[in-house]
Every structure is written in C-alpha cells, then in structure tokens.
Amino acid sequence: MTAIISQDDFLVFREYFYRKTGIRFESSKRYFVDKRLIDRITANDCASFREYFTRLRFQANGEELQRLTNLLTVNETYFMREEYQFDCLTSHILPELSEHLPTDKIINIWCIPSSSGEEPYSIAMQLLENWPMLRNRDVRLLASDINTRMLDMAEEGLYSERSIRNVPPTWRARYFSRVGDMYQICDELRACVEFSHVNLANPVEVRRQHAIDVVFCRNLLIYFDDLSRKEAAESLYDVMSPGGFICLGHSESMGRISPLFTVRKFPEAIVYQKPWEES
C-alpha cells in the first residue's frame, strides 16, 4: 500500500527540513517533495508518514535524513557556469589579494556548494590557465556540499558531454580523457580539490573552515528563505579572512541579504568583500 502525505504532514515535514537545511519548500513544490517522501517511506517499510517521520527524527546516525537530503536537493551544475566570475577571480580578485597579503600566505578558495565538482574543477583550470602568478603563490581549493552523493561524484570526476559543453577544446584535451561516452577529469586536478561534507545552515559545520580568502556560494541561497540567507552570510563572514571576497550566483544579491559586506564592482562581475577592518 502506498502511504499518503496529508497537507498537515507536508507542513510538519517542511518545517523540519527547513530547520535542518535552510531549504524552504513552497507549496508549489508539494508534488516533488511528496514523491520522494513516499519513495523513502516504502524503502523503509513504514506504514505511514508518521512512522517514517519518527524514524527520520530520532535516528541517531542521521543516515535516513542524509538519504532524503540527497533526494531533495537540486544539484544542477556544469563546467564554466557563470564563467565571467572566474575571469573576475583571475583578473581582479586574486591580484588584489596578492597585493595585500604576505607572499608566503596561502590563498584559500572555498566553493560551497560544489555539487558534483564542476565549479571547483573549473576554478582549478582557470587558475592554471589564466593566472600566471600561481607560480609565486600557493592556492588551496576547498569544496563542500550537503549532498554526499554529489560529493562522491565530485571525487570520482566523471562527467557527461553536456556537463563539459562549455569547456574550451584545448582545456578538454589537457584535463579530460574520454571513457566511453563520459569524460574523466585528470588526476592532477582531482588531487588538488579537497571535498568535504558541510551543511551551510549549520554554523558549527561551517566553522570547520577558517581563513577563507574567496568564497563561491552560487545558486544555493535561492532555495533558502530570507532569515536562513542572512544566517548563511553571517556564518561565511565568520570564517573569512579580512578583505576576503564572496561571489554569489547571478540571481542572488548580498544587498538584499546582509549589510556585512562591501559591494565591489569589477568590469566582469559584482562581488562582495569582507572589510579589511571593522570599525
């Protein structure tokens, strides 16, 4: 028998999932949510939503919540997405940071969310190809997501033609090899992106990072409500170095989220900066 999700069940679940992840499902997403919940209720042999929900909430290791989260997050991404920001990174952001920071200071770049890895690997290629100063500076690339399945895929580094459609042919030749109808990213790049599981809605998890100089937080905050967005911006501020930059997705604007950052307009992109000093 298939379980039925009532309107009350939906509201109870929505509030719980929101508190855990910051993601707010509008009523228009009801079908999307119900379908996945019913799949998990069936897979767990539960007779009702209530029975499943109790298991979900009280399971000590959080495994079921993780599985459900893996099903309920939208992971769409591709290589070189909104690449004008990567150009901004190598033409303005990194040169400016390099000028201010001691020469032996490692620059830490953090992609959260990274989804299946296309974004951090794109940044790695951009640095290798378009930032000659990489010869004089160490850069650490960190990447995190809440979805463990996406993190596994990122570590594996196997991509479809569709995912790499915007990668220039010379880069393809240099950094990918063909495996059947898929493309394997080379070991050199895989070895230099450090993936980890982080929930941006949990400040304690965010604090596993520190001294971050550039954050890419693109196309996630659109799924949060205003208050969760503000909390996320404040958590990121907390782990960023003074003078650090944050890049958001094209439909996201820090002006509407938090006043903590200064707007920086570069020819390629508008980005946000943590002040060097706070008055």
Binding site: I106, A124, L127, L128, L134, R135, N136, R137, D138, V139, R140, L141, A191, C192, V193, E194, P203, V204, R207, R208, Q209, H210, D226, L227, K230, E231, E234, S235, Y237, D238, S258, P259, L260, E278, S279
Partner: protein, 211 residues
Amino acid sequence: MALLQKSGQPRPAPDDPTGRILDVEALERCLHDPSADIRRRAAADLASCQQATQWLLTQLQQETIPSVRQVIITSLTRINTTEAVQGLATCLRAEDARLRNDAIEAMKQMPDAMAPVIEELLQDQDPDIRIFAVNILESLCHEQVENWLLDVMDNDASINVVCAALDIIGEVGTEIALPVLERTARRFNDAYVGFACDLAIRRIADSRPAS
C-alpha cells in the same frame, strides 16, 4: 608555488572556545568576551536558545561592532518570540539610527510575534515611534496590516503619522479602505492629504473587478 595537493586532513583551526560544544551559560560569558569574533560566534550559537533572549538584548544595547550587532539581531529574529520583539522595540528609541533601522528590519520578519507589540507601538505617545510602527507595517506579512493602518488613519492625531499610513494604503488598500479615505480627507483640511486620499480612492475603484 602552485595549487596545493589535498591533504585529507582537517586544517587545524585557531583555538576558539565557541568551536567546542559549550553550555548556554558558557556561551553567555562568551557574549561579553573582549574578542569580537568570539562574541559574534556566541551570539550565533544562542539563536537556538529562547532563554538567551535577555542576554542578547542586553548585549545589543552595549555592542559597538556592527557585525556582532547584526548577528545578535539575526539570532533574536530566529528566536522570534514576543519577548524578543519587545526588546527590539526598545531600540526604536535609540539615538543610533543604524540600530533603529536594524531593529525595524528584524521586526518586519517576525509577523506573529509582532502582532501584540505593534498595537502598543501604534498607541505610543511619541509620534516618531508611531511612524516607525507604520514603517514596520509596510512589509509585515500579517492579515491585520490593512486594519491597523486604517485604524491609524481614523484615529491618529498626528498628520505625519496619518500620511505615513496613507502612503501604504495608497498602494495596498482594498475596498474596505474607501470610507476611511473619505473620512480622512475630511478630518484633515490639508492639500496633500486630500490629494493622496483622492489618488488612493481612484486606484482602488479602478482595480475593482468589472461586474
């Protein structure tokens, strides 16, 4: 120099007392720490703790670093109780315009907790406080908003407070506003009020569904 190879090890973080799991009393002490970073983290961690409301409100009045202040306000917004709103409402009397604005922005996001407090604010002796209350109503998602505004238009003695309410009714008013708009135009013999009331009446009439 290059892209660093991943280590697989967590990077050692600088020592931070709030990084470890602390009890709420310890977090309260961190709220007064000399380091702004520690105060900010303590304020963020107290968001899940209703009993911290008064601690956060007390620190808010003393806090000089804007980012810590922002995080305190965010945590009070997350706590979202009438007690938190009442505390934020006292910030409307602060000298510091930034603190007042931050408090207004926060209260707009707490419609249910706000309801009992807004009625008090709309009755405040000080017309400036009543104007702030009207400003909060501008983007408060609550079904009573129009009624509160119409009440102001019918009863508030200050023309400035009424004009603030009228500006919003001009944009969002519905048919129930029509008699109030007519009364308001008559109550104040003032060119601007008359003009704004006429404009609002016409807008509402034009948006009536054709029968």
